[in-house]
C-alpha cells in the first residue's frame, strides 16, 4: 500500500518549472531516496509534500487523503531540515516538546514522550542544554527526536547529513538507516550524495530538471540505468560512454578490464590508450582514450591493484581491454536506454 503518492506535481517559479510533472508513490515503511544534482527540484518536491510550498498543479495524497489544502501540521508528516531548524532559545527538552505543545498534549505525556525519544537517540543527557552547546551530530539527533515525537505517518528528511564532517556522516548514515528500520516509518530522504542514496534507500528516485528519470532499487539504478543521465550521475567514476550507431554505448569503469582478465561469455574488445593513472589504495583508476572510437568524456577503468601490477599499465601505451557484452548498455539519440544494439 502506498502511503504517499504524488500525481503529476508541477511547481513554477515565474517562468521556471522547478518541479515538472513528478508522479511517485512511496510504499508503507519504505525508505525512498530522492537523488539528484543541486537545483534539480528535489527539495522543492519534498517541501510540496510537507505543505511548505503549494504545487502549481497536481495532487499529493498521504494515507489515502488528498492533502493539497491541508496545512503542514495536519498532514501527519515530520520533517528534518538541512540545518536542522532547531529553536536556539529553547532547551533541547523544549525543542523536542514543541510539536507536542502545539497539539495540546498533556504535560505528563509530553514528558514521557520526550524522554522516550531522547533515549532512543542517545541524547537523554543533553536535554537541559541549548542547541548552540551541541555538536553537529548531536543537533542532528535532536532534530530527529523532534520529528519522532509527533508519531508521523511519514518522515521527510532534507539532506540531514550535509552539515556533518565526512567521518560522522558515515556513522550517522548507518544510524538513520537502522533507526528507520527499527521504527518502520515511511521515509522520504532528499540527497545529492549518491553514496547516501545507494547505501540507505530501499528505492531511489533519480530526479533531474524537475523530472523523475528513474525509480528503482539501488541495484536497478546502478546496473540498469534508464537513460544516459542516470548512467552518468550514479557511479564514481561515472559510466563510460562512447558514440555508437548515432547513440551511445555505456559500460561501468569496474567492468572495463584488461582483456586477459575477462574470461567466459561474449566479450566486446577495445584498444585502450592510457593517459594517466591514479592509485587510490583499494583501486587504481586509469584514464585514457579508446582507439577509433569517439567519446564525450575521458574513458576510465577501475582496476583492482592486486591483480594489475603497476608495470603493466604505463601512460602512452595501448592495451587490449574488454567488457562482457552483457554489461554494455545502449542509449539511443534521445539518451533513452534501448534494449538492443
Amino acid at each position: 500500500m502506498s502511503v504517499v503518492s504524488a500525481n503529476e506535481i508541477t511547481k513554477r517559479f515565474s517562468d521556471v518549472a522547478a518541479v515538472d510533472g513528478i508522479s511517485l508513490s512511496v510504499r508503507d515503511g519504505e525508505f525512498m531516496v530522492l537523488l539528484g544534482p543541486s537545483g534539480c527540484g528535489k527539495t522543492t518536491f519534498l517541501r510540496i509534500i510537507a505543505g511548505l510550498e503549494a504545487p502549481s498543479s497536481g495532487e499529493i495524497t498521504i494515507d489515502g487523503t488528498v492533502v493539497n489544502d491541508l496545512p503542514p501540521r495536519a498532514r501527519g508528516i515530520a520533517m528534518v531540515f538541512q540545518s536542522y531548524g532547531l529553536y536556539p532559545h529553547f532547551t533541547i527538552r523544549d525543542n523536542i516538546a514543541f510539536p507536542l505543545k502545539t497539539q495540546g498534549v498533556t504535560k505528563a505525556e509530553i514528558r514521557s514522550k520526550v524522554e522516550w525519544a531522547a533515549n532512543l537517540l542517545g541524547i537523554g543527557h543533553l536535554l537541559d542544554r541549548r542547541p548552540r552547546q551541541l555538536s553537529g551530530g548531536e543537533r542532528q539527533r535532536v532534530a530527529l527526536a523532534r520529528a519522532l515525537v509527533r508519531d508521523p505517518m511519514v518522515f521527510l528528511l532534507d539532506e540531514p547529513l550535509s552539515n556533518l564532517d565526512a567521518k560522522l556522516r558515515t556513522s550517522a548514515r548507518n544510524e538513520i538507516k537502522l533507526f528507520q528500520q527499527q521504527i518502520g516509518t515511511t521515509t522520504i530522504y532528499v540527497t545529492h550524495d549518491q553514496v547516501e542514496a545507494m547505501g540507505m534507500g530501499d528505492r531511489i528516485a533519480v530526479i533531474d530538471h524537475g523530472k523523475v528519470r528513474q525509480v528503482g532499487t539501488p541495484a536497478e539504478i546502478y546496473d540498469d540505468p534508464a537513460d544516459r543521465f542516470v548512467a552518468t550521475f550514479v557511479g564514481s567514476p561515472p559510466m563510460n560512454l562512447v558514440r555508437w550507431n548515432g547513440g551511445h554505448l555505456g559500460f561501468r569503469p569496474e567492468n572495463f578490464l584488461p582483456r586477459q582478465m575477462v574470461h567466459n561469455g561474449a566479450v566486446t574488445d577495445f584498444s585502450f590508450c592510457i593517459d594517466r593513472t591514479e592509485y587510490l589504495g583499494s583501486e587504481r583508476i586509469v584514464y585514457g582514450r579508446l582507439d577509433g572510437l569517439e567519446a564525450p568524456l575521458e574513458i576510465t577503468a577501475k582496476l583492482p591493484p592486486a591483480h594489475v601490477p603497476d608495470e603493466y599499465i604505463r601512460p602512452g601505451e595501448f592495451h587490449p581491454f574488454a567488457v562482457r557484452s552483457s554489461q554494455l548498455c545502449y542509449f539511443d539519440e534521445s539518451g533513452k536506454r534501448a534494449r538492443r544494439h
Partner: protein
C-alpha cells in the same frame, strides 16, 4: 629562477614599519573618536558635576561650593517630582507604542505587495525629517482652532464642534500628544530593527515551526520574538536613552505646559539652567538622568547577556 620577493633591505630606521603594527595603527584610528568623546562629552560632564555642586548662575558666576544642597532643593520641588514622573511616562509609553507600531510595520513590509520599495523608503521619513519641521506640522494638527484632526472628525460627523478636544491645552491630552509624536518619530527606527531581526531568523527554523504545528501567533511570539529579542533590546536601549534625555518635541510642541503637565527632565533643565540662568540647579536636574539611565542600560544589557543564544 627569478626571485619574486624584494630583497630584504637594510633597515633604515626602527620606525620604518611602525604603521604595520596593529597597536600603533589601531590607536591612530581610534584617537579622533576618543578625543571627541573626551572633549565634547567628558569635559561638559565634569563641568556639569561642578556646576551642580556650586551656586553658579549667569548673574553671579562664582564657583562657590554648596555641596549637595542644589540636589536637595531640586528633589523637594513639586515641579521636579512631577517632571520625573512625566519623563518616565513619556519614555515608556512612547517606546511601547513605537515598538508595537514597528513590529506590525515590519511584518507588513515583509509581505510582498506592489509599491513595497516606495513604502519602505517613505516609512523612514518621520525619522529623517528634521524634528522641528515635523513638530510644526503636528502642532497644526493639534491646534486649538485649526486642528486638522478635529476638522476631519467634524466633517465625518463623528464629533460635535461644541466639545472639540483642546489637544495641547488639556493636561492628559497634551501628554498623549507628545507621546504620539515621539512614537511616530521612533517607529521607523523600530521597523528597521525588527526587519533586520526577522530577516535574520533562518528559514529552516520558521519552516520547522510551521511543520511542528505553530500557527501565526505561536510562530511570532514563541519563536520569532524570543529569537530577535537581543537586537530589539539594543534598539530599545537606544530609544530609551534618546527619549529620556530628549527635549525637542516637548520644547517645540508644549513648552512643558499646560502647567508642567508635559514637562520632562531635559526641558526643565534647559528652562531653569539656560533660559532662567540658574545654571547650578539646571545642572543638578540634568544629572538626575544619569543614575536612572545607568541602571536602565545595565539591566537591559544584563538581560541580553542572559538571553544570548
Amino acid at each position: 629562477m627569478v626571485a619574486i620577493t624584494e630583497r630584504l633591505r637594510e633597515r633604515r630606521s626602527r620606525f620604518q614599519f611602525v604603521l604595520d603594527r596593529p597597536q600603533v595603527l589601531g590607536s591612530l584610528f581610534l584617537s579622533p573618536a576618543i578625543l571627541y568623546v573626551l572633549v565634547l562629552v567628558g569635559l561638559p560632564f565634569l563641568l556639569a558635576i561642578y556646576y551642580a555642586l556650586s551656586a553658579y548662575t549667569i548673574y553671579n558666576p562664582s564657583y562657590h561650593f554648596v555641596g549637595l544642597s542644589n540636589f536637595i532643593e531640586v528633589v523637594q520641588s513639586q515641579t521636579f517630582r512631577r517632571t520625573l514622573v512625566n519623563t518616565f511616562v513619556f519614555t515608556i509609553a512612547s517606546q511601547f507604542l513605537g515598538l508595537i507600531l514597528g513590529k506590525f510595520g515590519a511584518l507588513l513590509l515583509l509581505r510582498p505587495f506592489a509599491g513595497r520599495k516606495i513604502v519602505r523608503a517613505l516609512i523612514v521619513l518621520p525619522w529623517a525629517v528634521p524634528i522641528a519641521l515635523a513638530t510644526v506640522a503636528w502642532e497644526w494638527m493639534f491646534d486649538s482652532l485649526y486642528s486638522v484632526i478635529n476638522w476631519t472628525l467634524e466633517a465625518v460627523g463623528l464629533m460635535n464642534p461644541a466639545n472639540a478636544p483642546n489637544w495641547l491645552g488639556e493636561p492628559t491630552l497634551a501628554m498623549i500628544c507628545v507621546i504620539i509624536v515621539n512614537a511616530w518619530r521612533f517607529f521607523p527606527f523600530a521597523i528597521v530593527i525588527f526587519l533586520a531581526g526577522i530577516t535574520a531568523v533562518p528559514q529552516d527554523v520558521l519552516d520547522a515551526a510551521t511543520v511542528d504545528g505553530a500557527g501565526f501567533w505561536r510562530r511570532n511570539y514563541q519563536i520569532i520574538v524570543p529569537m530577535i529579542l537581543p537586537i530589539v533590546v539594543v534598539g530599545l536601549i537606544f530609544g530609551t536613552v534618546f527619549t529620556f534625555t530628549d527635549l525637542s518635541i516637548v520644547y517645540l510642541l508644549t513648552q512643558g505646559g499646560p502647567v508642567n503637565a508635559t514637562q520632562v527632565l531635559g526641558n526643565l533643565g534647559f528652562q531653569i539652567g539656560i533660559l532662567s540662568g540658574d545654571v547650578a540647579h539646571g545642572a543638578a536636574i540634568s544629572l538626575f538622568m544619569l543614575p536612572v539611565l545607568f541602571v536602565l542600560v545595565i539591566l537591559m544589557l544584563r538581560f541580553i547577556r542572559r538571553r544570548e543564544i
